[in-house]
């Protein structure tokens, strides 16, 4: 398949060029099989609209987000300062991330350590591309008559007040956007934030992702749209454990965009 190219920054620099945009893939986007699909979708969109972008590839490292949330400021700053050295060395100006956690950390916590970049989340980039007419989401097709609900990632929504960009994209689809009873500022966490993704939950009566999945399933959706690889994992697990995986898909907004825009290359 895929004849799209994704140069690394090092390759571009070697050719004497610099990228206009750095795509920060993130750990989940790099290693998690399901989230790799989102990564590829974003690359296809970027290629389609001819943005001169690059990835860091093997030079990318964890932003330090889970370490910071878990209280390991040493490890966070080790990661941050090392990453900032690389980014500044390549004179990176603008970054798009596929993960709200990377987005938040790069955008809000790197500046104080000397890493100052324009950082956007991929849903914001897609919204800009739609607004400027660079991509159009075709009517009908895959989404005609489908009910789509959107789960706000905490680190995109409450943490950074990005509520409208993802919704703006979903409203362009020919489906019906249905809100959960808890949404936007009141959205319930999927259960993965604060390094919970990487540990067992404390003892309780149920898992947070099941609570959130039932919010989503209450809207009788065909598609649960997400904008975060960890929310993706949590909600997919929730849908599976609710035995709904035959009728409900969990998709990243980048995948929905790719599909609706009919980008195949």
């Amino acid at each position: 398949m895929a004849d799209f190219t994704f140069p690394t920054v090092a390759e571009l620099i070697a050719k004497g060029e610099t990228p206009d945009l750095l795509f920060w893939v993130g750990c989940a986007g790099s290693f998690d099989e399901r989230s790799q699909k989102t990564t590829r979708a974003i690359c296809q969109i970027l290629t389609h609209v001819n943005i001169k972008f690059a990835v860091l590839g093997t030079e990318e490292s964890c932003t330090g987000d889970p370490a910071k949330r878990a209280g390991n400021e040493f490890l966070f700053q080790m990661q941050a300062l090392t990453n900032i050295d690389i980014l500044n060395n390549y004179q990176i100006k603008k970054i798009v991330t596929a993960c709200p956690h990377c987005f938040n950390t790069l955008k809000n916590e790197y500046p104080e350590l000397g890493g100052i970049y324009e950082v956007i989340h991929h849903t914001q980039l897609i919204q800009e591309l739609i607004d400027s007419g660079k991509i159009t989401l075709k009517d009908g097709g895959h989404f005609k008559g489908k009910r789509i609900t959107y789960h706000d990632p905490c680190y995109l929504g409450r943490a950074n007040n990005v509520y409208e960009a993802p919704r703006h994209i979903l409203e362009q689809l020919d489906g019906e956007l249905v809100e959960m009873k808890r949404c936007k500022q009141n959205g319930l966490c999927c259960g993965a934030g604060g390094a919970q993704m990487f540990k067992e939950p404390e003892q309780g009566t149920k898992d947070i992702n099941m609570e959130r999945t039932s919010d989503a399933l209450d809207t009788k959706p065909d598609i649960i749209a997400v904008g975060c690889p960890f929310c993706m994992t949590m909600l997919r697990d929730g849908v599976k454990l609710s035995h709904q995986e035959q009728s409900v898909e969990v998709l990243d907004i980048a995948e929905l965009t790719l599909n609706a825009a009919g980008i195949t290359h």
Binding site: R40, G71, N161, I208
Partner: protein, 436 residues
């Protein structure tokens, strides 16, 4: 009792009440200042606007319309009826009766307004009591809502009802005395509420005067007592809501505080030639006890009125975990009060061998947090339980290396492979290969 003795007694009681109140408030200020420094004096214009909107305008209350309406009524009643307290104090000291009555029709308007509000406050407090004790609304319960916090809430509501009753009773007697033209009780004020009760009152003039005086004294002594109850109670929020919203965290919620003391150490490791610009190193990283928190977290603790909105939206709490953001705030306040009492009794260097972490807040609680910021978003007075949780985590991780096993694995992976999972950096581009 001769008039002059009443005046002297009243003046002494006023001075005493204010003296004790100021004394206790100073202790609270002293306790808040035990916290670490944090700069919250920037962006003053934005701070004033935040305070005006959130404390004065109660903009974050509206998410729950019914309590918001009732709370607004009590709040407006509290502020407006205090104009009446001013008159009572002047009357009490100089021995006049309704000293502001020469304001004429404006005075009538004032008293009429006070009466309507007094009835409003009375009804609102009665409904609040029903919500707490009969309807048993879920967010008023929880492991932290032990006997004292429950009683505290009820005492406040009962006191407000008693104060409003005394006020209306005093007015009803006054009005009846005015209608039978008793000297000293010259017609002044309109009494849209209390006039309905005059039929129930005795006709004996001396009894009426006695009831009126009792109502008057009960009302003002009740207010003095209530004033001095505030520093011991969650009700202190009526004062601290204002500075607490003024000193809000104005950054985006996702931005956690940067630890410059760590930056120096990390730079010294990464760059051998690095010399730190300042030599201030922290005594230790993170917080074990209340003095390790910044002063704003301590002010947050005294501002909390235990409404439980934070806990009701906390994903961990809703799924049965032990974590409750409200408990974090109540524990912080209780521990801070304990530390303050130790200082009063034994001096500043005294150590009681206890700490906020472990003696009050357990590890299980701090590790259950998803840092989702639902608690800070919902709090009507911008309290931040999350920053306390993060400081406690920092202590556990950086000072003690006591973390859940799986988080140790996470840290090792990030340190060794630059990823939270056990994947090598060389595998970072595998996502592209998989598409082939």
């Amino acid at each position: 009792m001769p008039q002059i003795i009443c005046q002297i007694l009243f003046s002494l009681l006023s001075i005493g009440a204010i003296y004790w109140f100021v004394r206790n408030v100073k202790k609270i200020i002293r306790n808040i200042r035990l916290g670490k420094p944090i700069n919250r004096n920037d962006q003053q214009k934005k701070r004033w606007i935040t305070m005006m909107k959130i404390a004065l305008g109660q903009s974050k209350m509206v998410t729950k319309p019914i309590p918001a309406m009732l709370h607004l009524l009590v709040y407006i009643g509290f502020i407006v009826i205090n104009i009446e307290v001013l008159e009572i104090i002047v009357d009490g000291i100089i021995g006049t009766h309704r000293v502001f009555s020469n304001l004429g029709s404006f005075y009538n308007f004032l008293i009429g307004t006070f009466e309507c509000l007094a009835l409003g406050v009375w009804l609102a407090c009665a409904l609040f009591l029903i919500r707490r004790n009969v309807l048993k609304i879920k967010r008023f319960s929880g492991i932290e809502m032990t006997q004292w916090p429950r009683s505290d809430a009820n005492y406040i509501l009962f006191t407000e009802i008693a104060l409003m009753s005394a006020f209306l009773l005093m007015n009803a007697c006054d009005y009846k005395l005015q209608t039978i033209h008793i000297q000293h009780y010259t017609p002044a004020g309109t009494f849209p509420i209390s006039k309905w009760f005059i039929q129930l009152l005795p006709n004996n003039i001396n009894t009426l005067i006695a009831i009126e005086r009792t109502g008057w004294w009960f009302h003002i002594l009740g207010i003095f007592a209530f004033l001095n109850y505030l520093p011991y109670s969650k009700h202190f929020h009526i004062l601290l809501a204002f500075p607490n919203t003024y000193y809000s965290n104005l950054n985006l919620k996702g931005q956690f505080s940067n630890m410059t003391s760590v930056t120096n150490e990390v730079k010294a490791i990464l760059y051998p030639n690095f010399t730190p610009s300042s030599t201030n190193t922290a005594e230790h990283f993170g917080a074990k006890d209340v003095q390790d928190l910044n002063w704003k977290s301590l002010m947050d603790a005294y501002t909390c009125t235990e409404c439980g909105r934070c806990t009701s939206v906390c994903p961990a709490n809703q799924t049965g975990k032990k974590l409750s953001p409200r408990k974090i705030m109540m524990d912080t306040r209780d521990r801070l009060n304990e530390v303050g009492k130790n200082i009063d009794k034994h001096g500043t260097d005294f150590q009681d061998g206890k700490s906020l972490l472990d003696n009050y807040i357990s590890r299980e609680e701090i590790w259950a947090c998803t840092t989702c910021n639902a608690c800070t978003q919902i709090c009507p007075v911008n309290i931040d339980p999350l920053s306390i949780i993060v400081e406690l985590r920092r202590y556990a991780v950086m000072e003690e290396s006591q973390v859940p096993h799986s988080l140790n694995a996470l840290f090792n992976n990030i340190e060794n492979n630059g990823a939270p999972w056990k994947y090598a950096p060389s595998e970072r581009l595998n996502w592209a290969k998989n598409s082939q």
